[in-house]
Amino acid sequence: MDLSFLWQGILSVTWKQFVMYVVGGLLIYLAIEKEYEPALLMPMGFGAILVNLPLSGVINQFTAGLGETPGIIQWLFETGIGVSEALPILLFIGIGAMIDFGPLLSNPKLFLCGAAAQTGIFMTIILAVAMGFDLKDAASIGIIGAADGPTSILVSQVLRSKYVGAIAVAAYSYMALVPIIQPVAIKLVTTKKDRAMRMGYKVRNVSRRTRILFPIFVTVIAGLVAPSSVALVGFLMFGNLIRECGVLTTLSLCAQNELANLITLLLGITISFSMKAEDFVRPETLMILCLGLVAFMLDSIVGVLFVKLLNIITPQNKINPMVGAAGISAFPMSSRVIEKLGQEADNQNHLLMHAIAANVSGQIASVVAGGVVLQYFANLG
């Protein structure tokens, strides 16, 4: 009786697959023990182990006896991300339904913070090109700086980047590490006096009409200037319109809870298809992780410097420079960081509502950034 099949699997594990088991274990540890983006990192970590088992049944396999057998994770990836980008795009309906743009609508000047804080994306693209990545891969890496996981996955997939797995891991890991990364970046370019700067907050009621028209105008404006951003911005704003219209409460709650949870659950394990050992274990992965960190740092630094410049141009309504760093999409982590740093400098300094306004502006700006990057390549022809 031939029992060699019992150790065939063990003997065919490669060192790269072994590295992926360690990576998967690390992601699961970070998700469970450190609570770093657990909804995404846990499924990604488990999926990294799953797809790297020899002859894994979750990816398509060809064997002499059975012919080609389909794998569920490969099918999910090809259908939900590869062909249609449906999973990241549909997630935006849930995200849009969760966001209250009220604080931003009360102070529209803070839209500019969201715009400025995307600069790190493009500076990182230049760095990645200088390090030898081709332009499409560099653009996919730069988008890590959008601090927006679904946008990073979507752009890297549309541009057919070879590094989708590494980019997704970097995007979600650094989003979880915002409370560690941002204080370092902010303190590099601010003094204690800057951080202690107080800002008054007037509660301004935003009319229902404004709240309803806002997502429609945003979609039309973004669509006219950068048509490639329509899928991202449109679905984000569709979710927000469901929330604000006031007559679709059940759908709004469904989008915020069931839809967002279901897609998040599937997105993590689906993206692990791009974490196969032969695609992931290579020197470029480490370079991508470093560049992702640089992108987050540059976003925060440029955001702060932009507000300092804005304060010189419009000295009558000064903004605490740290609020500029909240213009990234990592919500609400970034707002909490700004509030905490403000209170460290002056325990009566409350910046949370201003930071939240800049933060939600960053959520729009990050999807617009993804759209303009895609638009650039669309225009290249």
Binding site: F111, L135, V206
Partner: protein, 37 residues
């Protein structure tokens, strides 16, 4: 490299135009709301 620099200028211009226009529209809607009161 030139293309990356071009992407920086075009990309940031696009983002500022979109966000700037949205800010202006919101400012306009806020003005209309306040005028009614």
């Amino acid at each position: 490299m030139l293309q990356a620099i071009e992407m920086l200028s075009q990309g940031m211009a696009g983002i500022f135009v979109v966000l700037g226009l949205i800010a202006l529209v919101v400012k306009g809607m806020s003005w209309l709301d306040n005028r009614k009161k």
